[in-house]
Every structure is written in structure tokens, then in C-alpha cells.
């Protein structure tokens, strides 16, 4: 995987998730951060920090990005969400527009 095609997402606790840029673009918010002109630090370093999102939730979010790409390409599986994550995940999803 070339470095240009990946992005780094950092959780509140400082955990780093390196994922495909395409996957991260599932989120409208991240897409805006990475593509908007004006030389934002996020665009330049391809790295976004989320001080409000915990590691567990960010991991789930990343899983969702990949699941969403698969689903869009026709692989219809179920995305399981543990009940204890639902509310936190909902808020994160709302923030990320995903």
C-alpha cells in the first residue's frame, strides 16, 4: 500500500489507525477535511485527530468504512453493532456524517 493512498486517524487516547484513503472518504466530514483547499494540516499530513472519539469507537468506525465499501460493491453482509457501543457510535457517526 502506497503512503499516498492511506490516511492516519488518531483516537482520543492517541491510538493510530492507518486505513485506505478510499475507506476514510466514506465519512463526509473526513472527505471534507482531506480534500478541502486551503492547506489544512489534515490535508497535508493525511492525518486526522479525533479528541472526542475513543479508541474502541474509532476502531468500529474503521470497520464500518470497510464494510460500507464492500456493501456498496454488492457484498450484502450484516454489520453487527454491540449494544454497549450503540450510543457512542451513533454520536461519532453523526459527527463524521457517515
Amino acid at each position: 500500500m502506497k503512503k499516498e493512498e492511506t490516511v492516519k486517524l488518531i483516537s482520543a487516547e492517541g491510538f493510530e489507525f492507518i486505513i485506505d484513503k478510499n475507506a476514510a472518504m466514506v465519512s463526509q466530514t473526513i472527505r471534507n477535511m482531506l480534500t478541502s483547499p486551503g492547506g489544512f494540516a489534515e490535508t497535508e499530513h493525511r492525518q486526522v485527530t479525533f479528541p472526542e472519539i475513543s479508541t474502541t469507537i474509532l476502531e468500529k468506525i474503521c470497520q464500518y468504512f470497510y464494510w460500507s465499501l464492500q456493501y456498496a460493491s454488492g457484498k450484502e453482509t450484516e454489520f453487527h453493532i454491540e449494544p454497549e457501543l450503540t450510543l457512542e457510535l451513533m454520536m461519532a457517526a453523526n459527527y463524521l456524517h457517515t
Binding site: 454489520f79 457517526a93 453523526n94
Partner: protein, 599 residues
């Protein structure tokens, strides 16, 4: 499908992951327990998410009073209309909602005046809907008086008396007040004249007379007024009114008086009696009137229409008008979009008069008129039409050429010219198989309703070639099991109504339903969840909202409350699950009685 509509209503919730989360959070009582144990309140949850979650819980019957507590810092709007379980305990929790600005508990029949005590002193409440909570009386109104922020209050068909209405004068911010079906006297209305912010006032069925109506000029901002079913005959010049409903009143004059003419845009006078309609219509500025409902008003002469050039929607159904009056409609037809001439004496000759004068007409209804195939050929010339209703007319679909027996013309061919036609209703007309041959050439058709006992399998197969058909109704047709077996529905079909097709057997229908699970089939033998669904639609809260207050007035409330108490099992399961259960059931026992039928 219910889920989808839920989120479309929300508007902002297009995020698919949010939707999945809400689904997961409301999967079961255990799931709810899991996230509930994590925190005492959901204060960080944005209000639109909290509201979506709350309504999903409500739909799935997982909401109970003490669970409401977690929402008390996050929910701003709550809609509990028609929920039979909502009682004083619920209200006690709702009263603690810090930021609540809108509360709808209409049709919650357990709400009484003392339950409203919990609401007293709320700080941000702007909108309260208590419509048809019949146990709410003047004592309930007193509790509401402490909420000075109220702007919208609906207390129609409650037990509030004219004394209670008088008390409302202290809610100075009121802009909308619905007092429909209450015994409001002229004196009570006079005491409300301090409410100068009032824009919307509903007084249908009240005891207001001409004397009370004369007070209405004191409301400078009034734009909507409903005086249906009252004794008012003379409405003074309330020049701010844009929308007026005086259905079922005897009308002598409206807006007569000095000064500016009212700029009325919507006028509903269904079932009204006129002393002199031309005179009654002469006191307001008719250049703005776009919606006029004069149904069932015993009108014969339409010459008064000639001033109404802005009309877009005209309802003349159930009047005694004939072909000679249609010229007045044609005269003001330039902007007309919807025209209802059902149950009038207008025949094909009258329809001919309209041709060329109604360039924007989209909907025409000629239900139960003496029109025939000739009218179809004229309708074919009104190219803007999208909806045509010719139910219960003399349309046969075949015109015999001048006495000859060999030459037949299919009249429905004329409809091929209507490139925008989406809905066609030809129910209760004696159509035969050959008559419907031209229909598949109407490419944009989405809804087709036929009801003729001459139609057979051949018609059903022929209609399967309509590319965009979503809703097909073929009631009372001679369809056979073999016919339905080999029927290949158009890909977009959603509803197939086969009511009254008596030759079909249950097995044939069920096998069709099994093969096409995405199509809703309506037939007396396809009972279980499909017919239940129908009932649900009828009693759903949204329907209650749509239903006009007049209709509500004559409905039998005891029956309704009984229906509302039956817990709806369907909401617990998805459509696919229900389908599988249905077939599991039929495979075990041969005769499965329809479950919980509210009838």
C-alpha cells in the same frame, strides 16, 4: 419500510451508520438495558438523534415511563399522539424534560387534567397538542396557564368549557389556537381579544354567532380562520385572513365592510348554503384566491367564478351544475391545476368546453358523472393531465362507428396523447378486455384502477407490459388461478389489488405472494398481516392527523379507544420475518384464522 419512512421524516438523519446504531440500540429490551446502564442521562446526545432514538423505541414498544428519564436533557420535541399507554406517570417524567419545546399527546385518551399538573411551570414549552384528550377539562387549562411560553395550543374536542376558554386570555404569546368542537360562546371569544398575536384560530362547531364574529376584527394578525359548523352568517372584514373555512354554514356575506379588501388565497365552503353567492363573493380581493372548495353546496349557477382568475384548485363536486356552467370554469381556467367535478351533471359536452382553456390542468375528476367515451377523446386533448378519475361513468372503451357493426374504435387510444398521465381510475365502468388494449401505450402510468366484471386473465397479462406501473387494481375481475400463476408483474409493481376476484383460491394467491414478496396483494383470502397492515394504516397517528376535524366529530370514540389498546404485534417484526411466520403457520394447520383482527 416503516423504518425508512421514520428517517425520511427526520430529514437530517441521512447517515446510514446512525440508522444502524438506532436499529441496534432498539433491537430488544436487553439491548436497551445494556446502554441504559452505562449512563443516567443522555445529555451529550444531539436532540435530533435523541428524538429519533426515542421514536424508534416507541414504535418498537420498548419505551416506558422511567426510561424517559434518560432523555430529559436531550429531547426538545416529542410526539406521542395516539399512544394509549401514555398516562399521568408518563407526564410526570415529561414534565422534567428541561428543554422540551413541543409536546403532542393528541388522542392519548388516558391523559386527564391532573396529569397536566406535571407540565406546569415548564420553561421552554411552545407547542402543546391535547386534541381529543376527552378527559382534559377546565382544571387542565389552569395547569397550562403557568406556562407563559405557549405559542401553539390545540385543545379541540376536549372537555374544556367556555369558562376554560376564557382563562386562555392570559397566554399572551398564543399565535395558534385550536378550539374546534368546544362550546365557545360569543362572550368567551370576546375575552380572547387580548391575544393580538393570534394568527390561526380554529372555532369549528362552536356556539359563535354573528355577534361573536364581529369581534374577530380585533385580531390584527389573523391569517387562518375556521368557522365551519357555526351559526355565523355574516363575517366582518377581517382583512388579514388568507385562509378561511366556513363549511356547512349559511353564508350571507363575507368580508363586507370598510377599508382594505381581504387577500384571500384559500376558501373552503363545502356544504355551505348561500343567499346570493355572487354578492357573497364580491367583498374580497379575488385576485389572490387560488383554492376554492364549494363541494356539496347545491350550486346551479357558476357565473360568480368569472372574477376568480388566480384559481389553481377548484372543487365543485356534488353540486347541481351542468354543461352550460362549464364555460365559466373554462373562462378562469388559465391557472387551474386541479378540477373536481365528481357527482355533477357535467357530461362529455361539458368536457369538450374545457379543451384549450385549461393549459395547466393536472388533475381532473369526473367520478359519477354522465360522461362517456366521447369525454375520453376530449380529455386526450388536455396534454398537461397527470391524474384522470372517471370512476363510475359510462365509459365503455369502445365506440361503435355510425351504426355499423364491423367498425369499432377503442376510445382509450386517445389517452396515449397524455405523455404525463400517471394515475388513471376507470373503476365501475363496463370495460371489456379489448377496450383496455391501448392502456400499455401510456408509458408514464404508475397507478391504474379498474373494476369491471368483464375483465379476464387476458387483461391482466396485457397490463403487465406497462413499464412503470406501481399500483394495479383489478377488482371484481374474472381472474383464474392459471392466470395469476402465469402473470409476470412489471418490475416496479408494489400493490396488486385483486379484491372481489372470486375465482381465485387461497393456494394460488399465497403462492403468488411467496414468489413476489415485495408486492402487496389485496384480496379477502390474503388475510393475516396484509389486511392487518391496512387496519394499521387506517388507525395510524398520521391518519388521525390528516382526518379533518369535521369527520372526527362524528366518529364513534368508544370503538376507537378499544382499537388503540390492542398492542400492535407487527411493529416487533420485519416484513420478511412476518412472511416467513405466515407460511410456517399455513404449513402446519390448513385453516389459519387471521390473528388479532381489530374488527
Amino acid at each position: 419500510m416503516a423504518d425508512r419512512s421514520l428517517f425520511m421524516e427526520g430529514g437530517q438523519l441521512e447517515s446510514p451508520l446512525v440508522r444502524l446504531c438506532i436499529e441496534a440500540a432498539t433491537q430488544s429490551g436487553d439491548a436497551v438495558e445494556t446502554w441504559r446502564r452505562q449512563r443516567r442521562t443522555l445529555e451529550r446526545l444531539p436532540s435530533q438523534l435523541a428524538e429519533a432514538l426515542l421514536h424508534r423505541l416507541l414504535c418498537r414498544r420498548l419505551l416506558y415511563p422511567s426510561l424517559l428519564e434518560v432523555f430529559k436533557y436531550s429531547v426538545e420535541k416529542i410526539d406521542l399522539r395516539g399512544e394509549s399507554s401514555v398516562d399521568a406517570e408518563w407526564m410526570a417524567y415529561l414534565g422534567a424534560f428541561q428543554y422540551l419545546c413541543s409536546l403532542n399527546v393528541s388522542d392519548c385518551h388516558r391523559i386527564n387534567s391532573s396529569a397536566l399538573w406535571a407540565l406546569s411551570g415548564m420553561r421552554y414549552l411552545k407547542e402543546v397538542d391535547l386534541s381529543r384528550c376527552s378527559k382534559v377539562d377546565d382544571a387542565g387549562v389552569k395547569h397550562l396557564l403557568s406556562i407563559q411560553t405557549i405559542e401553539i395550543l390545540c385543545i379541540s374536542e376536549t372537555s374544556v368549557t367556555t369558562n376554560g376558554v376564557t382563562l386562555l386570555s392570559s397566554l399572551k404569546r398564543l399565535s395558534k389556537l385550536d378550539l374546534g368542537g368546544l362550546f365557545v360562546t360569543d362572550t368567551a371569544l370576546a375575552s380572547l381579544q387580548v391575544l393580538t398575536n393570534l394568527q390561526h384560530l380554529d372555532l369549528w362547531g362552536s356556539d359563535i354567532s354573528n355577534e361573536g364574529a364581529s369581534i374577530l376584527v380585533k385580531f390584527p394578525n389573523l391569517t387562518f380562520l375556521n368557522l365551519a359548523w357555526t351559526k355565523v352568517t355574516i363575517l366582518p372584514n377581517v382583512s388579514s385572513i388568507a385562509c378561511l373555512n366556513m363549511s356547512n354554514c349559511t353564508i350571507h356575506s363575507i368580508f363586507k365592510g370598510e377599508g382594505n379588501k381581504a387577500r384571500l388565497s384559500k376558501l373552503i365552503l363545502a356544504g355551505a348554503l348561500f343567499k346570493d353567492i355572487t354578492k357573497a363573493f364580491s367583498y374580497f380581493d379575488s385576485n389572490y384566491l387560488s383554492f376554492l372548495d364549494l363541494s356539496n353546496s347545491s350550486l346551479r349557477d357558476l357565473s360568480f367564478l368569472s372574477f376568480l382568475h388566480a384559481l389553481e384548485c377548484l372543487d365543485l363536486s356534488g353540486n347541481l351544475v351542468g354543461d352550460d356552467s362549464v364555460k365559466y370554469i373554462a373562462y378562469v381556467g388559465a391557472n387551474l391545476k386541479t378540477l373536481n367535478l365528481s357527482n355533477t351533471r357535467v357530461s362529455s359536452v361539458g368536457v369538450a368546453v374545457l379543451v384549450g382553456h385549461v393549459p395547466k390542468l393536472e388533475t381532473i375528476s369526473l367520478d359519477s358523472t354522465p360522461t362517456d367515451d366521447l369525454a375520453i377523446s376530449y380529455i386526450g386533448m388536455i396534454s398537461s393531465l397527470k391524474v384522470v378519475n372517471m370512476k363510475c361513468t359510462n365509459v365503455r372503451g369502445v365506440i361503435q362507428q355510425n351504426g355499423g357493426d364491423a367498425e369499432c374504435v377503442l376510445s382509450l387510444t386517445a389517452l396515449e396523447n397524455l405523455k404525463q398521465l400517471e394515475k388513471l381510475n376507470l373503476e365501475e365502468t363496463p370495460l371489456k378486455d379489448e377496450a383496455i388494449i391501448p392502456i400499455p401505450n401510456i408509458k408514464q402510468l404508475t397507478h391504474l384502477s379498474l373494476r369491471s366484471s368483464f375483465l379476464t386473465d387476458a387483461s391482466l397479462h396485457h397490463l403487465s407490459s406497462i413499464p412503470n406501473l406501481m399500483n394495479l387494481s383489478m377488482q371484481d375481475a374474472i381472474l383464474t388461478n392459471a392466470g395469476i400463476e402465469s402473470f409476470n408483474p412489471p418490475p416496479s409493481l408494489q400493490v396488486l389489488d385483486l379484491t372481489g376476484c372470486w375465482l381465485l383460491t387461497k393456494d394460488a394467491l399465497l403462492s403468488f405472494v411467496q414468489r413476489h414478496s415485495d408486492i402487496e396483494v389485496r384480496h379477502v383470502l390474503v388475510t393475516t398481516f396484509l389486511s392487518d397492515n391496512e387496519d394499521n394504516k387506517y388507525h395510524s397517528p398520521s391518519q388521525t392527523l390528516i382526518r379533518t376535524s369535521q369527520q372526527r366529530r362524528f366518529s364513534s370514540s368508544p370503538l376507537k379507544s378499544e382499537i388503540a389498546t390492542i398492542i400492535d404485534q407487527r411493529v416487533k417484526y420485519s416484513r420478511a420475518e412476518l412472511l416467513s411466520m405466515q407460511f410456517a403457520c399455513t404449513s402446519v394447520g390448513p385453516s389459519s384464522n387471521p390473528p388479532t383482527s381489530p374488527k
